[in-house]
């Protein structure tokens, strides 16, 4: 039963190919889908599956994440009994630090009354019923279950993710590789693991003491030969947010109703921080089509095939097409943007023309409101 489970979200995630969006934040708090942050999906998945105890283990650059998650209220995790726990890296360790961070906070893991753990990451955006994963895990009798998705787009998506060699008959994990983009077909690891707390503690000790172990997922996969690791194939939509182009494509796919219905309008809602914006106003003369638009916007110009965040003003005669516009942005008169990702708090001057492409969307980095 889910009450025997706690969850740990390990935010040691590879940012190498998405640096322009992680200057001030981890992947977990990148805005996505007009009004969400990446971590909203996994947090909501956990809560919707009945998990009451979630620990988030994050790196140093976590101001934006802490601000977003707060006390966990939006996910109903501001609890007296269990609830949300946040753990930050110190600056001291650079080698296998996620294992060490977990080890340093062993007290949290021991104190939880749950016997079992769901270990997850944030960058695999999906709307998943984790109770089904847990059921499958318990039925299998395996030491551990790992969730994967089968894809035919591994040559462009899921780059550098772990790939799983799954035994066709038993579903048992035979081996682990990396997706280097050679083949379109792959079983991609979603870095969601189910195991006993005891097993987790064992692995944490092993990882923290092995200087060559690397990330904690590596620590787990090093044990492939020694453990019975079962696999669970997830059939829904998965968006892997680890490169700028996959981030761009993921947002764009959220414009189609099959994706947005499955992701946002399922019986398992995705929760996020409430910002109390007013509704959006569409001024006479505006033209909007095929776009996802958050509240608090004023649209006077043209918006096509775009994902628009909260508090965005598109002024008269401005055109925004195939763009992702994050929060608090003013696109001044006559500006023309196409295939551009604009991070928070940016002013686009009058008559500016910016053009990226579908494969190489242009990223305008976040500006600080306080220099």
């Amino acid at each position: 039963m889910m009450k025997d489970y706690m969850a740990i979200i390990n935010l040691e995630e590879n940012e190498n190919d998405i640096r322009s969006l992680t200057v001030n934040r981890p992947i977990a708090s990148i805005p996505i889908g007009s009004r969400y942050r990446v971590i909203d999906f996994m947090l909501s998945n956990l809560v919707n599956s009945g998990i009451k105890n979630v620990g988030i283990f994050s790196g140093t650059n976590s101001r934006s994440l802490m601000d977003h998650v707060g006390t966990g209220k939006a996910w109903d995790l501001n609890r007296k009994i269990d609830g949300l726990f946040l753990f930050n890296h110190g600056l001291c360790d650079f080698v296998n630090h996620d294992s060490k961070l977990l080890k340093n906070n062993m007290e949290y893991i021991y104190r939880s009354s749950s016997e079992n753990v769901i270990l997850a990451s944030s960058y695999m955006v999906c709307n998943m019923d984790l109770a089904k994963v847990v059921d499958a895990h318990e039925e299998s009798g395996a030491d551990m279950t790992v969730v994967y998705t089968e894809t035919a787009r591994a040559d462009t998506e899921f780059l550098n993710c772990y790939t799983l060699d799954v035994d066709k008959e038993t579903g048992r994990l035979n081996g682990v590789g990396k997706n280097i983009g050679f083949h379109p077909h792959a079983n991609v690891c979603m870095e969601i693991f189910v195991m006993t707390k005891e097993k987790l503690v064992e692995l944490i000790h092993a990882g923290a003491h092995n200087i060559n172990a690397g990330s904690f997922s590596n620590v787990i996969f090093n044990e492939t030969g020694n453990l019975y690791i079962n696999t669970y194939k997830y059939e829904g939509f998965v968006f892997c947010i680890n490169t700028v182009s996959s981030y761009y494509r993921s947002n764009m796919r959220m414009l189609s109703s099959d994706v947005s219905d499955a992701l946002f309008r399922s019986e398992r809602p995705i929760y996020t921080k409430i910002k109390d914006e007013p509704p959006t106003i569409y001024v006479k003369g505006c033209s909007v089509s095929n776009s996802l638009i958050a509240d608090g916007c004023v649209i006077e110009g043209t918006v096509r095939n775009s994902v628009i965040g909260r508090y965005v003003n598109v002024e008269k005669d401005a055109v925004v097409e195939d763009c992702i516009i994050l929060q608090n942005i003013r696109v001044h008169k006559g500006a023309h943007l196409s295939h551009v990702i604009i991070d928070k708090n940016v002013d686009i001057d009058e008559h500016t023309e910016l053009k990226g492409s579908e494969t190489f969307p242009l990223v305008i980095e976040k500006t600080s409101m306080f220099k």
């Binding site: 007013p278 509704p279 001024v283 638009i293």
Partner: protein
Amino acid sequence: MVKKNIVAMILAGGQGSRLGLLTRNMAKPAVPFGGKYRIIDFALSNCSNSGIDTVGILTQYKPQMLNSHIGIGAPWDLDRVHGGAAMLPPYMSEAGGDWYKGTANAVYQNLNYLESCNPEYVLILSGDHIYKMDYRKMLERHIDADADATIAVIDVPIEEASRFGIMSTDENDVITAFEEKPKEPKGTLASMGIYIFTYSKLKKYLIDDAADSESVNDFGKNIIPSMIANGETLVAYRFSGYWKDVGTIQSYWEAHMDLLNPDNEISLFSNDWKIYTDTAAIPSQYIGPDAHIENSIVTEGCVIHGELVDSVVFPGVYIGKNTRIERSIIMENTAVEDNVIISKSILLENVHVRSHNAIGNGTDIAVIDTGLTVESQARMG
């Protein structure tokens, strides 16, 4: 209990019977307004934006929606260790129990609540009004004038003055006379139903008023006139800006059309005085490939495929293809299928309009009741 400087009491028990179907299931302050709010959000948000952290909400008529909307007051930051939001319905005691008979009686019956807060000043508000006001400025005026009561006033056109409580003042805005809904108004300074009392005075007058069997226990009709008669210092606090009591379906509809006016004074969309509300976790609005929207307000969870002109749309509304909606208000989770024309109408929550329909004749306001399914070709209104 920590002593409070000022406590607000919001009168939220009114039925608003002239709002017809809108208030059949809820009190007037709970009526949805402005795309994602309820009317009482304005008074509550004014309180939190004015730094008032203790707010009593006096409920009576059909309070369920208000109870679930306000909860512990978290959306307005009123979930506090000391003070916060308190729902105050009529209650029984050893001596029996009574419904709230008038505005003053409602507060009188909750003197025990005020005693527990032990405030210096009490702010009396109506939960029925749409406006943005900084009560701190009014309190400053009250303290500077060393007043016993301060009444917020607004200049109204002389022809409308007989609908209001009209004040006569001297050159220092000290109130010399007060007439509730006068047939022949002597001035145009109308009471907004917003009062600040020095608590010790308010308590005395409420107790005296309760003992007076002739009284109808109303602030405008009894408390204020008797304070003036006794020579207490009452001053006017002049307010200018948008203020509306949406008392009828017509004025409710007009207030929404006001919102759509780009020069509207309420400036719902300015960020410096936010209006807070209880918000659900729903996705952003999706505007379809063939949609056309002009001069309209749309909010979270909506899916718009058709045409929307001069309209206000609440969360989770679906508008189908080839459907045209003009000068209308569409409330939460209402769905309008393809090929429908809706004109000058108010569709309440969870209405389902099937395809090939026409609602509203464009002159009178058509109101479609909560949860109704309008079958195809059932021309209404």
